[in-house]
């Protein structure tokens, strides 16, 4: 079975693994023990002790906490119950003017702000930009991902999560 050290997974996740090595990993059979090594790498990154259960973004995780399972920014900020859309507890900046769109697109054709706006979803604590939506005005905010967390741990990983009820 293919397997890699935690250090290699760490470098891969951080984008610092040299390309020839990365390329070999991409071409090889996948390592079945990746997930828990990945979680260990991410756990080392965060300042809190509660277990990271599932990454749902680049610096966004579902983890255990005293208030139950929550979506959490890497800085520790809680976006609340992981089953709810974390974006509803984020800070938002909407680019819906030519001037504000030009800040991101200085040289190119830009959207007509009557047809499309750019929505930036930040962590209210550390100002990390977690997600960008390009949507028509009035379009509901999308709930990107609703994982079947319990099913995943129970049926796919064979390690059921502890019941929180």
């Amino acid at each position: 079975m293919t397997t890699y050290s935690k250090e290699i997974i760490n470098d891969l996740v951080n984008g610092t693994l040299p390309w020839p090595q990365t390329r070999r990993i991409m071409s090889a059979y996948k390592d079945d023990d990746r997930f828990f090594k990945y979680l260990a790498v991410l756990q080392d990154r965060v300042a809190w002790a509660e277990a990271v259960l599932l990454p749902v973004g680049d610096r966004l995780f579902i983890c255990d906490s005293a208030e139950g399972r929550i979506t959490r920014c890497e800085c520790g900020y809680s976006f609340g119950d992981y089953r709810k859309n974390w974006k509803l507890k984020a800070a938002i900046n909407v680019r819906d003017t030519e001037e504000s769109l030009r800040e991101i697109y200085p040289n190119s054709d830009i959207p007509d702000s009557q047809w499309m706006e750019i929505r930036e979803f930040f962590c209210p604590e550390c100002a990390h930009l977690h997600e960008v939506e390009a949507a028509a005005p009035g379009y509901p905010i999308v709930h990107d991902f609703e994982p079947d967390l319990e099913g995943f741990y129970r049926d796919w990983l064979g390690k059921p999560l502890k019941d929180q009820s």
């Binding site: 990746r34 990454p55 507890k89 030009r102 499309m116 930036e120 005005p137 709930h143 967390l149």
Partner: protein
């Protein structure tokens, strides 16, 4: 009326489908017996079949006269079961492996075994998307494979033709508003017998196409590839025996199905994934567009993907827009093809690649939408305009699963539209001509979760992306290149930026009549997205041309020339440098003919970005600026990276200044941002008042009319009454 029930092949197809339904396994293959008996032989035989396909395609490319096939490889071949399921395929435009499967099944279901009969040496062709392809220029040929009188399979090949004989030259005919203007249709026809293409079919092609040499020689190339594969398969059956082949080919597909389910369970996480994209089609008042197609359109494409606990992928397009009198509609075959080509790129990089992967998926394409028109008169010539953005969303949804599972090296922000330019009129040789320029097969890709996207090296429909050599294109059109350059800042911004696109600038040469038409570029909205904080890539919306330019006079005087429109969005370098009539055109470029001395530029799209821009590596950014992928202005304003110059004048990252600037940007973010709850209260008022541009309001009304779920979700999100509608009439 034909007695279809008496058709043995049709019975075999129905039986195969019944067995799949009853057992959940392809053709009722509940046990991979041959694989179990001798796994090495099993794998070796599949590798052989794949080698037959790859070798046949390479041989055919050398027969073709079309630079689309010869240069950029717009071709794919595959081997099928008698019922039309793909067993093995080549590289190339893999989207058509499954569309060809639909074509074969369509012939079987429609009694072709009785009339026009399916005999050894027959050649069948099709480019009707409602039978099984994506668009008119995708012409497919299949030949049956017989062993001692028994039909034992099919060999098939598809080429994208550079000229299809539509109302405008080329094949992606954006002006088509119904199928009757899309070009020459070949509707599941027998075009040859005894391994020879019929003369009357060739004459039909010669008299209905602007540039028949491409289509006709491609037919010969495809038939040669099919015969090559057929003879190899027959030889193989001689070696392994008919009974073994019949079981083996079915086991290959069942293994492909199982492998896809296993791969999904290995690489992703079960659950519901959602995303969306948009497409703006601005044609109001353009020459040639008839009243039905005249209004501008805004398309929303929401996609929900479910990964079940079994590992099945279900894609749902509920909530998208109706089909329309434009050329961007897609058929179920095209939608299946999009799913197939995406899966082959992102999940089936090991093991057997065949129709088994497709069997491990489900797709909901609501009747009456652009994904599944309830009118077979609908035009599909530029299906890709909506298909590529849609499957770019699919790639982002899959990628979120890869990131959740830890396989960050497979996460990919997705494909983009790569606008097509097509032309016709009088060639540089003084003859009539027509051609699609296929350098579009080399857009910028979306970023990965661990690195920047590929620059000018990816399109979704053909992973073997290639822009082709300038010299070859120049042989085929009355234009010469005066520039082919990277477009700075054309990749979406992010920790990892999207791949950059390129722009070509041509001087029209040795002709007094050149019609130029472009398609598949979204106007007024971005048709791609970023991921995890990355921004969408800018979408090319406008074209710039100079009529009656003074380029020859400037060249005579040895004065500098502009080789691109430059990076000023308001005043181009063409306007600064060249005298002449300056043309800016939004949306599809369709105007009066050009002539020698005119200048025209056409840009392709870059891919979306990944991650927060403030985490981008300053050193990599300095390299990007030095090499023209980013401008210094963007490095500072978008990424917060301050550059200084080293001793030799090259850009160098100023780390301390960058840290300070980024801290300032974070403070600015917090000053400008408001809680989402606050924003929603304000936006709700706008929604209640239906305070939208007419095209946006029309989009909402159409989506709500077609989709009870979209209506419910929309009303619930904004806290509206259950009978709320957007004001106005469609």
């Amino acid at each position: 009326m034909l007695d279809k029930t008496a058709n043995p092949l049709q019975r075999r197809l129905l039986e195969s489908e019944r067995l799949m339904e009853e057992t959940g396994c392809y053709d009722g293959i509940t046990e991979l017996r041959l694989r179990g008996q001798d796994p090495l032989k099993f794998e070796t035989l599949h590798t052989k079949l794949r080698a037959y396909c790859v070798s046949a395609r390479e041989m055919a490319r050398r027969i073709s006269a079309s630079p689309g096939v010869r240069e950029v490889g717009e071709m794919v071949v595959a081997i099928y079961t008698p019922e039309g399921d793909a067993i093995a395929l080549s590289n190339g435009i893999m989207v058509h492996v499954h569309t060809m499967s639909r074509f074969i099944k369509w012939m079987i279901r429609n009694g072709y075994e009785q009339n026009p009969c399916i005999r050894d040496g027959d050649i069948f062709a099709n480019n009707d998307a409602f039978i099984g392809t994506v668009q008119v220029p995708d012409v497919m040929d299949v030949v049956p494979i017989f062993h001692e009188g028994t039909l034992v399979g099919w060999a098939g090949a598809v080429c994208h033709e550079l000229e299809a004989g539509g109302i405008t030259p080329g094949g992606d005919v954006c002006l088509a508003q119904e199928r009757f203007t899309e070009g020459l249709f070949v509707c599941a026809e027998k075009i040859g017998e005894n391994d020879e293409i019929r003369r009357d079919y060739v004459i039909r092609c010669e008299r209905n196409l602007r540039m028949p040499i491409y289509w006709v020689l491609d037919e010969k190339a495809k038939v040669a590839a099919c015969i090559d594969m057929r003879e190899n398969v027959k030889q193989l059956i001689e070696e392994i025996g008919l009974e073994y082949w019949q079981r083996l080919s079915k086991e290959f597909i069942e293994e492909g199905r199982r492998a896809q389910l296993a791969r999904t369970r290995q690489l992703t996480v079960p659950g519901i994934y959602r995303g969306h994209t948009f497409y703006g089609h601005v044609t109001e008042g353009k020459p040639g567009f008839q009243p039905l197609a005249d209004p501008n359109w805004l398309y929303n494409i929401p996609i929900e993907m479910e990964i079940t606990s079994e590992g099945k992928i279900r894609l749902d397009f509920d909530g998208t827009q109706p089909w329309g009198y434009h050329s961007m509609n897609c058929t179920p075959a095209g939608m299946d093809g999009g799913m197939f080509v995406t899966l082959t790129q992102h999940m089936n990089f090991e093991g057997l690649v065949n129709d088994g992967a497709w069997l491990a998926t489900e797709i909901n394409i609501p009747h009456g939408t652009w994904t599944n028109p309830d009118n077979e008169m609908a035009a599909t010539a530029t299906s890709w305009a909506l298909l590529l953005p849609a499957y770019g969303v699919f790639q982002r949804l899959l990628s979120r699963g890869f990131i959740a599972r830890g396989f960050v090296e497979e996460a990919f922000v997705g494909q983009v539209n790569s606008p097509m330019i097509e032309m016709g009129g009088t060639s540089q040789y003084g003859t009539g001509f027509g051609m699609a320029h296929f350098e579009c097969a080399a857009a910028g890709s979306g970023a990965l979760a661990i690195k920047d996207g590929l620059d000018t090296a990816y399109v979704g429909w053909n992973p073997e992306s290639d822009m082709g050599n300038i010299e070859i294109w120049e042989q085929n059109m009355p234009m010469v290149y005066i520039g082919r350059s990277i477009v700075p800042n054309s990749g979406g911004a992010g920790k990892y930026r999207g791949g950059c696109a390129f722009i070509s600038t041509w001087l029209i040469n040795k002709t007094d009549h050149l019609r130029l038409v472009t398609s598949e570029h979204s106007s007024r909205v971005f048709d791609n997205g970023g991921l995890c904080g990355g921004y969408p890539a800018p979408t090319c919306e406008k074209h710039h041309a100079v009529r009656n330019s003074d380029i020859h006079e400037r060249a005579e005087r040895r004065e500098p020339l502009a080789h691109t429109p430059g990076t000023d969005p308001l005043v181009s370098d063409f306007e600064r440098i060249y005298k002449g009539e300056q043309v800016w055109e939004e949306g599809p470029y369709i105007t009066r003919p050009h002539k020698a001395g005119d200048i025209f530029s056409h840009a392709y799209n870059g891919g979306g970005g990944f991650g927060d821009v403030l985490e981008r590596d300053p050193i990599k950014t300095a390299w990007d600026v030095e090499n023209g992928f980013l401008t210094r202005e963007a490095a500072e304003k978008v990424f917060g990276i301050i550059l200084k110059e080293d001793a030799e004048g090259y850009p160098q990252a100023d780390i301390d200044a960058t840290v300070a600037r980024r801290a300032e940007i974070r403070r600015e973010r917090m000053r400008k941002a408001i809680p989402v709850s606050e924003w929603m209260v304000r936006e709700q008022l706008r929604v209640k008042a239906s305070d939208f541009a007419p095209e946006v309001a029309k989009m909402y009304r159409s989506a709500m009319k077609l989709s009870p779920r979209f209506s419910k979700d929309f009303r619930e999100f904004w806290g509206l009454a259950s009978d709320f509608t957007i004001a106005g009439e469609n």
